[in-house]
Symmetry: C2
Subunit: 452 residues, 2 copies
């Protein structure tokens, strides 16, 4: 983005122009002829690899690039490896640099280099720059094709530039206004430009604008929260000197939100955070096994708690039958808290005070639910076993443990967050360890104190 | 939408025009003067109710309406109830009808009627129509302010209309082209219009377009999947006769995706699906309690399984200590499957074959993980207890149960889906019931068969 007056589309070929009229093409793969890139990608994914290669190499490179950019990550990487390197590099050159970088990111270094060497130098340089950004940050998801206008242009000059660029690319939602040193100083919509006096300079059109942007190195989830908060279509990404680097757009944000929801739900129980049903199954085994082993060690602790009370259990084996109910309830109640807090942390910027107030709220909920469930269980167990003391001990343990469960469930993500860890990762595993141990300890402990 | 040439903004005052230059206003609440509606809403939410009322009534109704539209549901409903009815109705009139309908949806019938009577008739009628749509469907989330153009207009007439409308509202992303009877026949972007021959009629500009739309009564999540699939900014919503009713836009879709992720995570463990940390705590108690009671009954089944083996446990109390490890592992492994499948169902349209293939994949993963964990546990338990047979029984039970856990975890959401139920709702609770019972049964059963 050195020529400031240059207008490039905010979107590459994968952009939102899908509702436009499709142009008839000479295309041997008839099914793909009028397919929207997203549909073409799905069609491709359903074919075996050799046929994918065959279809892609018979398509116009421009169309092929659009289809590949829309494919699922694993499928896409496999296909790119199987294409002739020169053709694959040609396709990368046809894509927007951020799509090309995303695809290369999934290939090993050798493959990356082999393809990059074959891409035109200017484009390759841009892709390589994008590859240096951490994929979990704003820089890692941004697009570099933005409409940049110099602050000294007049409104009518700006409109003229945008209009002439519309011949070959989509009309941008926002134009980004920069000063002589490429510093971002403001954002204007097409409407802002059209409502300005024709001769007015862009810097004057801006007036005292409250400029919203993100730094390139912030977490991509923070970018998603900001764009969602303001309902923007795109958010400018700048370096620490406020130089414009690119934009993150609404469709990137939808992907981020989807990914984040998956990461939280999968991470909670120790599955791979980017696992899908398309992940090779042995890879899933590798991703899940470590947490399953942590879970064994965790449950060994609660087993040890039970072991301490083996004498009590030998005398009264029904305790062994009832103790899982207590642990289970505490676990379930705690998981309800866990889910509420993880969602809060996902949807809002972290606010320590609000987070701990939420923990206090969960404690109240756990206590009241514990009392109610405790009373009902006391009645039930009394009727079934005719052991009033046993029923009392069990309902007492239930009340205490459900409250513990809720406090633990609500605190674990907050504590993880405070420690700079992912609040969801393995949270359910640690919660269960805690609720099992606490459940067994209170129930068996109270039993051995009060029943013998 | 009776006058077809009428141009209205696709977005109400809450639209994405937030990056525009703020206009200085005479505004007593200084903090709110230059606030973006989203920031203003957050500021408002942080105030006590009386102060919220005070600030809102001193703001220009137009600004007040924007702030309220951006507020959180619970806060917003409380505030609307506390405002003087005439002023509240005035604010509703200032909002886009879909925002007004969303707000009224959260009020009780008496309040709804009281306010609707005070809204101008034409607007009230539109709001009432929107209120008849199920809030979980396309009709329930769509906006009715769309740019509708008659197919007989020429391209230059269309551009002229859009431009003159830009004076008072945002420039639309797409214009929807209808025939004489208001049937949707196509969608054009501003770029499509600008690249057409000036005298060309819109129906000819459309050519053979592949029109993408949703019916008003489909699940809103389906709309979100479609818009996400095509990376569109908006999707037209039609009735069964293809008459255009409104559009669902990218920011609605972001809300739907957020909501859906919350619903899945909260539903899984039986919390209220729309619970947040702002939900009144007694309401949370009410929402969670039924599932906690289901959980008690479920765990009673696994307690009964243990009860059957009380004799075995009396002879060998260490079994009571080890059995939770087996059940826990099966549960954790199963929850990993559950999470993967629920996410798949959330992100893709349901495909029976793919779903059952995914279950088979989970069975393989469970089996291999079960074998590995089983072998490690066999070594560990042998070393700790010096009881080789016990260690063998435990590892056998672990292998079997982790496989059962994965099959159950993967099947439950698919079966729920096939039954027309929410695939996530209480899935974790039923899974735990299953893995606990199966875990106790296999471990205690194998023990009593092989160890005595």
């Amino acid at each position: 983005m050195t020529e400031k007056e240059r207008i490039t589309s905010q979107f590459g070929p994968q952009g939102p122009d899908g509702q436009a009229v499709p142009q008839p093409q000479e295309n041997p793969a008839a099914e793909f002829e009028f397919a929207h890139p997203a549909d073409g990608a799905e069609l491709l994914e359903s074919l075996p690899l050799e046929e994918q290669v065959e279809v892609i190499t018979t398509l116009e490179p421009e169309d092929a690039a659009e289809f590949i950019a829309e494919m699922e990550r694993h499928d896409r990487a496999r296909l790119m490896k199987d294409l002739p390197p020169d053709y694959a590099a040609d396709l990368l050159g046809q894509m927007s640099p951020d799509d090309a970088a995303d695809i290369l990111d999934d290939l090993d270094d050798a493959h990356q280099q082999r393809l990059l060497q074959r891409v035109e130098q200017e484009e390759a340089l841009e892709i390589e720059t994008l590859l240096t950004f951490d994929p979990d940050t704003a820089g890692g998801v941004m697009n570099t094709e933005v409409t940049v206008l110099d602050q000294n242009l007049t409104a009518d000059q700006a409109i003229q530039l945008i209009r002439s660029a519309a011949e070959e690319s989509e009309i941008p939602y926002y134009a980004y206004i920069v000063d002589e040193a490429d510093h971002l100083i403001g954002v204007l919509s097409l409407r802002n430009l059209m409502l300005s006096r024709p001769g007015q300079r862009l810097r004057d059109v801006l007036g005292k604008q409250h400029l919203v942007y993100s730094y390139f190195d912030v977490d991509k989830e923070e970018v998603a929260q900001k764009l969602t908060h303001y309902n923007f279509l795109a958010l400018p990404i700048v370096d620490r000197e406020m130089r414009l680097l690119g934009v993150v757009t609404h469709d990137d944000v939808i992907d981020i939100i989807h990914e984040e929801a998956s990461e939280d739900m999968l991470g909670m129980v120790g599955a791979g955070q980017d696992e899908t049903t398309d992940t090779p199954w042995l890879q899933s085994v590798r991703m899940r096994l470590p947490w399953l082993l942590v879970n064994v060690l965790n449950s060994a602790v609660s087993a040890w708690v039970v072991h301490l009370f083996e004498g009590t259990i030998t005398q009264m084996a029904i305790l062994a039958a009832l103790m899982p109910i207590v642990a289970n309830q505490a676990g379930n109640s705690g998981q309800q808290s866990l889910a509420v807090i993880i969602r809060q942390l996902a949807m809002e910027a972290f606010d320590r005070k609000r987070a701990w107030l939420a923990v206090a709220r969960e404690a109240r909920i756990g206590l009241l639910n514990g009392i109610i469930v405790g009373i009902l269980v006391m009645v039930g167990v009394s009727l079934l076993t005719h052991k009033i003391e046993l029923a009392f001990v069990m309902s007492l343990a239930l009340g205490v443990d459900m409250c513990i469960g809720n406090v633990a469930g609500a605190s674990i993500p907050v504590v993880f967050k405070e420690l700079g860890r992912d609040p969801a990762q393995a949270s359910s595993i640690f919660l269960t360890a805690l609720t099992d141990s606490a459940g067994f300890l209170t129930f068996l402990g109270l039993s051995s104190l009060l029943l013998f």
